[in-house]
């Protein structure tokens, strides 16, 4: 049992942190809101890290945590956490090109209910970044009960507006194409892995909200003293940091469980715990963070809302906190 990063992982984190602090500022996020092309320069840097999609889950989580910290727009998450594993599952020749960053992609799987369980619905929802990627991998339930993948180049996609412009979502219609069979369990496993990576990203976003709020509590003075000297504020920040700490730990526990190929039930529980813990941490950091900021946090000009938006959009993606708790409940009541 060892929760420490290796020196390579430390280096990866430092590299990501420095790069993203420089290349993904709040002004990039604001620019991307009006023009998706504003995030193109960022992708030119991030594409060099595409190989992480085919590597250990822990390493991808280390990087995703930093992309979450800056609410990075662009196809990095969709390509590394969703698209590459699907290509791997079907043995596609595109896998190598995706891991070198030559092509980007996303996965269309969720149906009308928005949850990422394999289905026969004719419209796929919550397809990430479908306007900018090269390929959409469409995953459907086969008539036999298994699953199939269809690779579509630049299919037409309808934008669905959400509060979060940093990760646009689309609807994609199921269309004809070569259906490549894939084991449904393999699809479930790769969705589970992507869920942990998203949870790592959310921990990064929650940490950004927390860091901004902690700094504000130290800087902002009222009644002649920093507001961070008031116990009401101190206890809020203590609770925010507890949720953040346990979410971080749950995410890397799950990532290690996936990498170690632990038994299925054990991995499933760890994945649900990670996403739900990250959801609780992100929501608390958002709500208490804006409360600590007071009126200035409620303004468009302050950057806080950029991360609140990302936090809530991610919390709803790949299973809400409540959905993951319910799946955990199913597992708890199923045993014996």
């Amino acid at each position: 049992m060892d929760f420490a990063f290796s020196s390579d992982q430390d280096l990866l984190r430092e590299t990501a942190r420095n790069l993203l602090a420089r290349e993904c500022t709040p002004s990039v996020l604001r620019g991307h809101r009006d023009d998706p092309a504003a995030a193109a320069p960022l992708w030119n840097h991030l594409r060099d890290f595409s190989a992480l999609g085919a590597g250990p889950t822990v390493d991808l989580c280390v990087f995703a945590e930093e992309t979450g910290y800056v609410a990075a727009p662009g196809p990095f998450f969709a390509t590394t956490a969703l698209f590459q594993p699907v290509l791997g599952a079907i043995g596609s020749g595109l896998a190598d090109r995706a891991s070198t960053g030559e092509i980007t992609g996303t996965v269309a799987l969720a149906g009308a209910d928005g949850f990422w369980t394999i289905n026969k619905d004719r419209v796929k929802t919550f397809v990430l970044d479908a306007d900018t990627v090269d390929v959409v991998a469409l995953v459907e339930m086969s008539d036999g009960g298994g699953a199939s993948v269809t690779l579509l180049e630049h299919p037409s996609a309808r934008r669905v507006e959400t509060i979060d412009s940093s990760r646009p979502v689309f609807e994609v219609d199921v269309t004809a194409g070569e259906r490549i069979p894939v084991d449904a369990d393999v699809v479930d496993a790769l969705v589970a892995r992507a869920t942990v990576v998203l949870a790592a990203e959310m921990v990064g976003t929650a940490r950004r909200l927390f860091d901004m709020s902690l700094q504000y509590a130290k800087d902002r003075r009222q009644f002649g003293v920093p507001i961070g000297s008031f116990q009401a504020i101190q206890h809020k920040l203590a609770d925010m940091s507890l949720d953040l700490e346990r979410a971080w730990s749950a995410v890397y526990y799950a990532a290690m469980a996936l990498d170690a190929d632990e038994p299925t039930a054990y991995r499933q529980r760890a994945v649900h715990v990670a996403k739900a813990a990250a959801g609780e941490a992100a929501k608390r950091a958002a709500k208490d963070g804006i409360q600590i900021h007071g009126g200035i946090g409620y303004t468009w000009e302050h950057d806080l809302h950029l991360f609140i938006r990302r936090a809530y959009a991610s919390e709803a993606l790949l299973g809400t906190t409540g959905w993951h708790h319910d799946r955990l409940g199913d597992l708890l009541f199923a045993k014996r």
């Binding site: 049992m1 060892d2 929760f3 420490a4 990063f5 290796s6 992982q9 822990v58 902690l214 509590a217 130290k218 003293v225 920093p226 961070g228 000297s229 008031f230 116990q231 504020i233 101190q234 206890h235 920040l237 203590a238 609770d239 940091s241 507890l242 700490e245 346990r246 979410a247 971080w248 730990s249 749950a250 890397y252 526990y253 990532a255 290690m256 469980a257 990498d259 170690a260 632990e262 529980r269 760890a270 649900h272 715990v273 990670a274 739900a276 813990a277 409540g322 993951h324 708790h325 319910d326 955990l328 409940g329 199913d330 708890l332 009541f333």
Partner: protein
């Protein structure tokens, strides 16, 4: 980063399991369902005394210590494995923690050569100790204590009152914090004395717990004469001794708290099935939320332990103390809620599990108060970990 333990640590675990299978008395199993602290009618029953001595004699009482102190010089990681195995089986080491967990380590660290000789009997449980800390006007603000020790040439004279003193009714010895200098800042005039409980002038009045059992007491000191050589550490230097505890086990204290949470979750699932609410989506979700919080806290505990084992400071201790005690209380309350009208029933014939959930709930009130209340833990996190200014 990896989850597996090293082979030598798994070998250590196997050795412990073999010992437990052979020696652990059946009564140790009966402890697992309850919140701890509350041992019922007999505060320290004979089987518990015998078990503690057996653990000591086989080097399994404090495995990180050398054999003469009831251990086997194991590594910090092995101490964690030990705590995991003991707590997941619900096997207590001792039913009176002050002697082995606080007094002995303090004497070994700060005591003179004669005082160090008191440690083995404290760890083996042959001597029962209590600790005189809290007073009617010094609770969370411990440094405000006012029990006075007047300094004479070869002795002290102690006057004052201690309260919430656990095990005082059964103790032979007391480690007592006293004010030896009223003229300096409150932290700087405190000393620690070893006081035999049969010294004339000591009166112990049992205090009944909220759960109905006797566990702690008020202790009154009236002109109690304590020899000078019973001073531990320097005169007026007692404050830093209040921090004394098993430093090498502190990073693993959370293991017991988490094990109790996991036992509660298992118990809640079974309870919901018996009460016919296993299909109720609200019940299922609330139990699952408890599982998620317990599991993420467990992961946080292991993360903190990694930092500790590598020698970096681990602030996780304050998080774990606060969070496990609060979650534990909530889970016991959920157990009552699942029983609906029968939640408060303790009747052996009608209630669930002899009132397990309501009794544990009441006992668990202590866990968010004793040893630094949840509010004090939040202050510590805010000021020491997050570096926020003191109010």
């Amino acid at each position: 980063m990896h989850l597996a333990w090293e082979p030598e640590d798994e070998a250590f675990r196997s050795e412990l399991i073999a010992f437990l299978d052979e020696h652990a008395p059946s009564e140790t199993r009966a402890q697992r369902d309850f919140a701890g602290e509350d041992a019922g009618e007999d505060l320290i029953p004979k089987w518990a005394r015998d078990w503690q001595a057996t653990l000591f004699d086989h080097g399994w009482m404090i495995p990180g210590y050398p054999p003469e102190l009831g251990g086997r010089n194991c590594t910090p990681v092995q101490t964690l494995v030990y705590l995991e195995e003991m707590t997941s089986r619900g096997i207590p080491r001792s039913l009176h923690f002050p002697g082995y967990a606080i007094v002995a380590p303090s004497l070994l660290e700060f005591g003179n050569e004669d005082q160090k000789l008191l440690a083995p009997a404290a760890i083996r449980g042959d001597t029962i100790w209590c600790i005189g800390m809290s007073e009617p006007n010094a609770g969370s603000d411990l440094a405000a204590l006012s029990t006075r020790a007047d300094v004479h040439d070869d002795h002290f004279v102690v006057n004052g009152q201690k309260v919430w003193t656990s095990y005082a009714t059964h103790s032979q010895m007391c480690c007592c914090y006293v004010r030896t200098n009223p003229d300096v800042a409150k932290h700087k005039g405190i000393s620690l004395l070893i006081v035999p409980m049969d010294t004339p002038g000591i009166e112990v009045r049992p205090l009944r717990h909220i759960s109905g059992s006797d566990g702690f007491a008020e202790v009154f000191f009236t002109d109690v004469v304590v020899p000078r050589e019973n001073l531990v550490g320097g005169l007026d230097d007692g404050w830093r001794l209040t921090q004394g505890s098993l430093a090498h086990e502190r990073a693993g204290l959370w293991v017991e708290g988490v094990a109790r949470l996991e036992q509660s979750i298992d118990g809640l699932v079974e309870l919901a099935k018996r009460r016919g609410v296993a299909a109720d989506p609200i019940v299922r979700r609330r139990i699952a939320e408890g599982y998620q919080r317990a599991a993420s806290l467990s992961a946080l505990g292991y993360k903190g332990f990694t930092s500790f084992a590598q020698g970096t400071s681990a602030p996780e201790h304050s998080y774990m103390k606060m969070a496990t005690s609060e979650l534990g209380k909530a889970l016991y309350e959920l157990g009552m809620e699942i029983q609906g009208p029968y939640g408060p029933v303790t009747d052996v014939d009608r209630g669930e599990e002899h009132g397990r959930w309501v009794n544990s709930f009441f006992v668990s009130f202590a866990n968010t108060i004793a040893g630094g209340s949840s509010e004090i833990q939040r202050n510590i996190i805010a000021q020491r970990v997050l570096k926020l200014p003191r109010g």
